[in-house]
């Protein structure tokens, strides 16, 4: 157990929920909780943010976005959370939020079903529940703010790699484990898009670094050794991209082989600054928190009920529409490069 839990970085874990959700086919009739109606409008909304754990830079960034939104629409913001990312640690904070009569709870779930009971009790006393980053089962929350779709992630990576190497060349993919369903789906979608739009780009190899630093590093070395004409390595996993960049940064391949994919700014800062990596993608957690707060606002003030097709304003991000199963998609992944990486710390 323990040796799996910590291997994935938080964002990678978060993405896990995306794929799972797409497969969930529950009815949409469970999202209509109209408890927020009228009752809270006009007064200050109190909104609690409950991240997976405290002290996690990723959630600190998303909570900062949430706080920014709440200041914009005028509400009170609070942040609580367990020290460690465990479901039982979250339950007590959910109960407290319900007892204090918070208007909305915005959380990233540590388990899709273990906190369901507590969440539903909170919803029974008119707390609007919005999940972001990691979803719960559909019937335990009102809205889920999804950071990205598989299609969005795949085409963002295709866009990055074609931008960096042009429309022809050899690329290789350094993935997590061979049975990681998210990564496999993204790779499949990427291959489809490359085949359709960029027939001169060839995916020469797909290797697996098991989201282990050292193994990903060694796999990068093997890739470069095996394919002497390689133009780019695309790694749709935060561990892989950092390991590939680290290897290339100190090798003769620096400047010749491009590295891109999904990464976090803190892990990639060194390599963007030294020029090994031009740009990479991930969603912007700050925007994610910001949108989640606006979604909570819309729900708790009675502006929307959380039904499919409901639309609401989300401050600087513009208008959003609630999709099937109460899901709201943040948008295309955010591209980090040397211009903006200094603005992020997660």
């Amino acid at each position: 157990m323990w040796h799996n839990a910590h291997k994935r970085s938080i964002p990678a874990l978060a993405v896990l929920a995306v794929g799972t959700l797409a497969l969930t086919s529950c009815g949409g009739d469970n999202g209509d909780t109209a408890e927020g109606d009228g009752e809270a409008s006009g007064e200050e909304l109190s909104i609690t943010f409950l991240p997976k754990n405290l002290g996690n830079p990723y959630f600190e960034t998303s909570n900062a976005g949430g706080q920014e939104a709440i200041e914009e629409f005028g509400g009170s913001y609070s942040e609580v959370g367990p020290q460690e990312a465990t479901p039982d640690g979250q339950v007590e904070y959910i109960n407290t939020a319900a007892q204090q009569g918070e208007d909305a709870l915005v959380l990233s779930a540590n388990d899709p079903s273990a906190i369901c009971g507590a969440l539903n009790e909170a919803r029974d006393v008119d707390v609007a529940v919005v999940t972001f980053d990691s979803d719960t089962d559909v019937e335990c929350r009102d809205l889920f703010v999804n950071q990205a779709t598989a299609e969005g992630i795949a085409s963002a990576q295709v866009a990055l790699v074609t931008e960096q190497i042009g429309e022809e060349g050899e690329i290789a993919i350094l993935s997590a484990s061979a049975n990681a369903s998210n990564q496999n789906l993204w790779i499949e979608l990427m291959e489809e898009e490359l085949e359709a739009d960029y027939p001169d780009i060839e995916v020469v190899d797909i290797v697996y670094g098991d989201d282990d630093d050292q193994r990903s590093f060694d796999q990068t070395a093997a890739l470069l050794q095996t394919h002497s004409d390689l133009d780019a390595i695309v790694s749709p996993t935060t561990v892989g991209i950092a390991a590939a960049a680290r290897y290339i940064a100190d090798s003769n391949y620096a400047g010749e082989v491009a590295v891109t994919g999904l990464g976090t700014p803190n892990q990639m800062r060194e390599y963007v600054e030294d020029g090994t990596v031009e740009s990479f993608a991930l969603w912007n957690p700050e925007d994610l928190g910001y949108l989640s707060a606006w979604a909570a606002h819309a729900l708790a003030s009675g502006e929307i009920e959380g039904n499919e097709g409901d639309t609401f304003e989300a401050g600087r991000l513009g208008e959003y529409t609630v999709g099937a199963d109460g899901e709201i998609v943040l948008g295309d992944p955010f591209v980090f490069d040397s211009e903006n990486i200094a603005d992020f710390d997660f």
Binding site: H6, A85, V207, Q225, V239, Y253
Partner: protein, 344 residues
Amino acid sequence: MSADTRTAPDRQSRTLQTARTLLASRETAIVIVIVVIIAVATAMNQSFLFSGQGWRDLLLTPSILMVMAVGSAVVIITRNVDLSVGSTLAITAYLTGRLFIDFPGIPILLVVFIGTLVGAVLGLINGALVAYGKVPALVVTLGTMYIYRGAVLTWAGSDRINASDMPRDFLHLGTMQILSIPLLTIVAVLVLVCAGYWLSSTRSGREMYAIGSEPEAAKLYGLPTTRRVITAFILGGALAGLAGVMYAARYGTISASAGMGWEFQAIGAAVIGGVAIFGGSGSVWGAAFGAILLLTINRTLPIIGIPDFWQRAVVGALIIGAIVLDRYLSARRHRQLQEARDQT
């Protein structure tokens, strides 16, 4: 120990015998296998050996495991085993990163020293439990493997040390070369030469073999077995600690899962290199060559086009092959010794 001490040869036949022993020794066999593998890989892909990068990777990749395998070999020679070295590596690797973050400007040499020292202390805990607690090393170190790993998991959590957290000078050490030889390789070879000399040519080193061959006899003979066993564990731990610092410099990213499974690679390297798992024979040279063989094979298989999944199987086959070979050789030697005794 070795079978060649049963006669008292004159000078000429001694030279001959040394040559013969050298040819027949496990170390030589492994070196030949390594050379063959490198030749095959180079034939398939010139850059494996003849490009600057290929040359550097060839030497650099096994360096860290070599250091750990030397430590493991010393422990195994005393008829013990240390399963906690992978977790020790994780602790000192993470500690290295933390030291650079929490004490900006800390001298690199001091970090290397602290890492090694912490490794030695963790080894001392193992050694003390084994030597004073009279608990089998397998059990003790299996326990500390989980405890040490748990400690680093609690300490690091989902946090990781990133390359940008550590000074460039330190990271540069991980790849820097002196006359085309990577610094980490030089460190590994220095460790190897010192440990090799100590084991083969000093009194306390030879006593390690005596203890591993027959612990009871060694004790009756009056050898300080407790102290020697603890020394072996401290050395194994210190080398794992040093390996942790090297890991941080080489890989630049450290999470709590660093070095997971390395204890088995280190033991595997020692066994492949001819260190008998029941102690008393083998050399750190063999263990170091075993480490080179393991990792060079790992790098070669993708070039030859063998899928990822088979790479682990090959490692397993090597270990089993090495043990079968050991059994065969020791049975033959036993027979030869018996014949020699019968003749006299």
